[in-house]
């Protein structure tokens, strides 16, 4: 059994107004060194697979076909034995 953990964020070239607002709140709180704050989604799931390579391949497919929209989003993931 494997556990995939995925992070989806808006592509770097796209303005993230929500991230900007939160960043400026961090600055107001005194965390003035906080930079490039981006808000995204965390998604995780378990999957049955004989090898880690296969689990990664399936995770990649799920990301590409469903979890992220490549027009506006980037994704990254890690897959671990669970």
């Amino acid at each position: 059994m494997f556990r995939s953990r995925i992070v989806v964020t808006l592509r770097k070239s796209i303005l993230d107004p929500q991230g900007k607002a939160v960043e400026s709140a961090a600055h107001t709180l005194g965390f003035t060194t906080v930079r490039d704050l981006r808000i995204g989604k965390h998604i995780e799931f378990s999957l049955e697979s004989s090898t880690k390579e296969e689990a990664e391949r399936i995770t990649e497919e799920v990301c590409k076909k469903l979890l992220a929209n490549p027009v506006m989003e980037d994704y990254s993931y890690n897959v671990e034995h669970a």
Binding site: L10, I14, P17, Q18, L66, N69, V71, M72
Partner: protein
């Protein structure tokens, strides 16, 4: 002969009845609902993907609705040249289904905007705008939180070259500028059409602009255009 409109109902659609009312009671055409689990569209001339919050907008707007069983039939219908219009959430579904290019970002203001806006008709030579003249200004309401149209530069250039940008947000006098852009859409884009000219998506709600006492009857032009186009086909 009456034009037969099929209105797809997803869990969370909420403009399906408005569309039905517009078609049946205002335009005096045939309208029927098509539940998203159906595996056939039946005998229809036009498919409407209505507004709403299909699947609660989970994951992304339209992202889950595109996998509803009926969408396979909608894709097939469109491939065979059938007329498909996606309104608001319906437009978002068409984007997710890659039946139209691009994607919808959150509105620039991060707020849900519900208001009358104005649209400039950029291309009157479509099945959806043939009752308009180039440059006509239509008053139609919007109601969305994710209507900030985005696509990469190449896609925008291709849309531009193909005359596929059909509607842009504008002022009441037809000026397309940033002040008249309600959501941050690239190039004030409010409605686009596919290359083949049979699949159209628009964020504003023509079905809510059918009767003057309710603010505007300009939406009738969109419906009348579709009816005329079916007669021509």
């Amino acid at each position: 002969m009456k034009t037969k409109f099929g209105i797809v109902v997803f869990p969370g659609s909420n403009c399906d009845h408005d569309a039905h009312h517009a078609v049946k009671n205002i335009m005096k055409q045939e309208a029927r609902f098509i539940w998203h689990k159906e595996s056939s569209l039946g005998d229809v001339d036009v498919v409407i993907l209505p507004g709403g919050f299909s699947y609660g907008d989970y994951l992304r707007t339209g992202a889950i609705a595109r996998f509803s069983p009926v969408m396979r039939e909608v894709v097939r219908f469109a491939k065979n040249g059938g007329t498909v219009i996606g309104i608001c959430n319906g437009f978002q579904i068409l984007l997710e289904a890659e039946m139209l290019p691009g994607a919808m970002l959150r509105n620039r203001s991060l707020k849900f905007v519900c208001d009358f806006i104005h649209l400039r008709v950029e291309n009157p030579s479509t099945r959806f705008t043939s009752e308009c003249e180039r440059g006509d200004v239509l008053k139609v309401p919007i109601a969305h939180g994710e209507g900030n149209y985005f696509a990469d530069n190449d896609t925008i250039a291709a849309l531009q070259d193909g005359d596929q940008i059909v509607l842009r947000y504008c002022s009441s006098t037809g000026i397309v500028d940033d002040a008249s852009n309600p959501n941050g859409s690239l190039g004030n884009i409010a409605g686009i059409i596919n290359k083949e000219g049979n699949v159209f998506g628009m964020m504003p709600h023509p079905e809510r602009a059918m009767e003057l006492p309710l603010g505007s009857a300009d939406g009738r032009k969109i419906f009348q255009s579709m009816i005329e186009s079916v007669v021509l086909i």
